[in-house]
Symmetry: C2
Subunit: 436 residues, 2 copies
């Protein structure tokens, strides 16, 4: 089947997924979890085959580690699926209700987006999570995993398709895509695919974003800043810089550039240097920074670098406005924080820094769906429309306008004897309950 | 200045527009209205010059009519601007609040999207309305109007820029773009422009959508359906078909294809034919339709035609599922309605028809921001993300996550002595009130 035919088949199934009950979807999620455990040996055998091939091809150790999907990892994936079953249904939520006139009532009700393309590198657990999130939100999904995990992904997709079909979910809602050529085709199907969610390296996500007209939910870069304001508590600033940078360096919400107010540079930079030395983290400073502490000189490209490593760029700035200007110029709109005891400065920072997550006196590492309490995370978005920052299940739905009438015509509301609209807000109830 | 420089200038102004108070924005809107009235003669003189040139170029009468911006039209535009001032501020609305832990509180707060490109054909009143909506929502705007209205648009943009700058709005928030070459450049500026809103013909909007990676809010086609179900009230069905088709044929929410359940075709089609004949509306029917009434045969292309004229395609279908299938295959996801006395059939129709607006026993012509009670309308969207159907001011905002902490580190919440997140929902209050 061509990718276009697969997308069409997915769409046909999705139409019927839109009206599945919450109970039917949760039963199917439980069936996925049960089937993964039941077929554990089949999964592990396919995964072992992928690993053996990857070892022969001398895949790097971190990639090999992420490729592994056996034992405890399978149990965790099942827990994840059951967690999605436990979340409230994002479909059918009444966002607003308005009585336009007597017997003419309008409801804005959430519904699935449609067909979602999820493209990810390496980790097979992502396939399970993405499938569970799509099912719960009534969407169909075209999944493309990493080439290294080909056999594992194939087995997982088969198990999920069979288990959900047996549980009454329309067949065809989940489709696996395997080749890079197919991804190219997929990027051109803007009349068939409603949303793309890529997960992987910056270059990978940037490639997707630059090569499609389909809306993309995600982020390419996480050039994250912490600004130490003139009224910062210095020990707190050292702690937050340390946690933001060093708690886990390989992730998008880890700190990359530290901005230091000129008025506190002398107090703050020496203890910062001491802490970073203790962590084995390299500092790269602007010329003014190097007047206080002995560090490597920062180059122009350091201001927009996402190191994902034990490296931190440090720049001295003259006040709040300069810090905001720097962040809005070099940042990636992901996560930026200020350390200060001055509420007015903090509010100004949070108002004017144009990023998804703006924090006051907290580590940048809190930028995360789980920490935010959103439940299972679809991804982190630096988009300026639809969904921004950590995105939960609600990022996979849109809404419809459902109008319940009794024969009303537009002509009744125009001309000399026009009726007037009431436009009265309704209590949010189940739409249609009183109709019929 | 290049388009890129203009976009950069607009962005710099927009950053500061994000924190404007509601009062400051409303004062500036009043200043626009006052300035338009004050400079009425200047506007009318520029507009007359555009009209004279258009007449010399033998522009068609409907286009000439839309180009005219004088007298009452200027008064109406001012009323429109004051109407936007009267709407509630879409910025700063707290969508959710959650206490992650003691002293660590998270708020999801609406904010402007950023820089919006608004591209429209002909009507100068659109420029005024678009500018007012952008200002109220804290966005900057790059405006490109029709070539015919060049002089009018230039005067209007100057008046609006001067009036708002005098009222304290950051200069540069409104930029006028004049040439087609500049539009091409603009479509490529996906790192500078956050959203495009095109208004004009299908071909025009489709061109924009197909030639940019920037998100586009709008709709190309309005292939609108009415389905007369087996349990339809026949006189009501005739009235709704008449109103949906004939009340105003030149608009996107006007009916284009009528689907008739086979079981009521004999009762419904003769009175429908009589009514459409009286209106001078041409019917084009499928073969089965032509067994009941004498009409032109429909060709395959009629099922996806948006006539915007006194023409209606008619097709007999076998039941609800076939109607839904037809609409999801040939429709444009804009507005589709069912006439029936059967609530279950209506709910099924509204669940499974994948369109922005799904109506039961009401004219398709209600698909409109004013009729929906949304206030000033940004446009009607057939997007599957962000905003769908008629879009009001809330379509011009997104949100930020604002985290208010007191020195919390991510490391405190991991490892053997990890703190547990509270994730307690907060009453929605102004963020930060209790911080400081």
């Amino acid at each position: 089947m061509s990718i276009q035919e697969r997308a069409t088949q997915a769409k046909q199934a999705q139409i019927r997924c839109a009206s599945l009950s919450t109970a039917a979807k949760n039963t199917a999620l439980e069936a996925i979890a049960a089937a993964l455990l039941e077929h554990r040996h089949k999964i592990e055998s396919a995964n072992q085959s992928d690993i053996t091939r990857a070892e022969q091809q001398q895949l790097e150790a971190p990639l090999l580690k992420r490729l592994k999907f056996q034992g405890e990892k399978i149990d965790q994936a099942c827990q994840g699926v059951r967690g999605v079953a436990g979340q409230s249904d994002p479909v059918g939520v009444v966002l607003s209700g308005r009585e336009l006139d007597e017997g003419l009532r309008l409801f804005q009700v959430t519904c699935p987006i449609g067909v979602i393309g999820m493209i990810f590198e390496s980790r097979p657990d992502a396939l399970v999570q993405m499938a569970a999130l799509s099912l719960k939100s009534g969407n169909a999904v075209l999944l493309k995993g990493g080439r290294e995990a080909l056999e594992t992904n194939r087995v997982l997709a088969e198990i999920i398709a069979a288990a959900t079909e047996a549980a009454g979910i329309p067949a065809g809602w989940i489709q696996l895509i395997e080749t890079r050529e197919d991804v190219k085709t997929l990027l051109g199907l803007d009349r068939h695919i409603d949303l793309l969610i890529p997960r992987g390296s910056n270059q990978f996500v940037r490639y997707i974003m630059d090569n499609t007209n389909i809306p993309v939910l995600g982020h390419a870069d996480g050039v994250t800043h912490l600004y130490v304001h003139s009224r910062a508590d210095i020990p707190m600033a050292v702690e937050l810089a340390d946690d933001s940078k060093n708690q886990y360096v390989a992730v998008c919400n880890a700190l990359e550039t530290l901005l230091v107010d000129a008025s506190v540079a002398g107090d703050f930079l020496p203890p910062l240097k001491e802490r970073m030395d203790a962590r084995g983290t390299e500092l790269r400073g602007c010329e003014r920074t190097r007047a206080y502490i002995e560090v490597k000189p920062a180059q122009p490209e350091d201001w927009s670098a996402e190191y994902l490593d034990k490296i931190l760029a440090v720049k001295i700035v003259d006040g709040l406005d300069a810090a905001i200007e720097h962040i809005n110029t070099y940042g990636s709109g992901h996560t930026d924080a200020i350390v200060t005891a001055d509420q007015q400065a903090a509010e100004q920072f949070m108002n004017l820094v144009d990023s998804a997550d703006v924090f006051w006196n907290a580590s940048t590492r809190f930028s995360d769906g789980f920490r935010f309490g959103l439940g299972a995370e679809v991804g982190i978005s630096t988009n300026k429309i639809h969904a921004r920052g950590p995105v939960g299940l609600e990022g996979l739905v849109i809404y419809k306008w459902r109008l319940y009438g009794s024969g009303q015509k537009a002509a009744d509301y125009s001309g000399p004897n026009a009726r007037t609209f009431l436009h009265r807000s309704l209590n949010l109830e189940e739409p249609g309950e009183e109709n019929g």
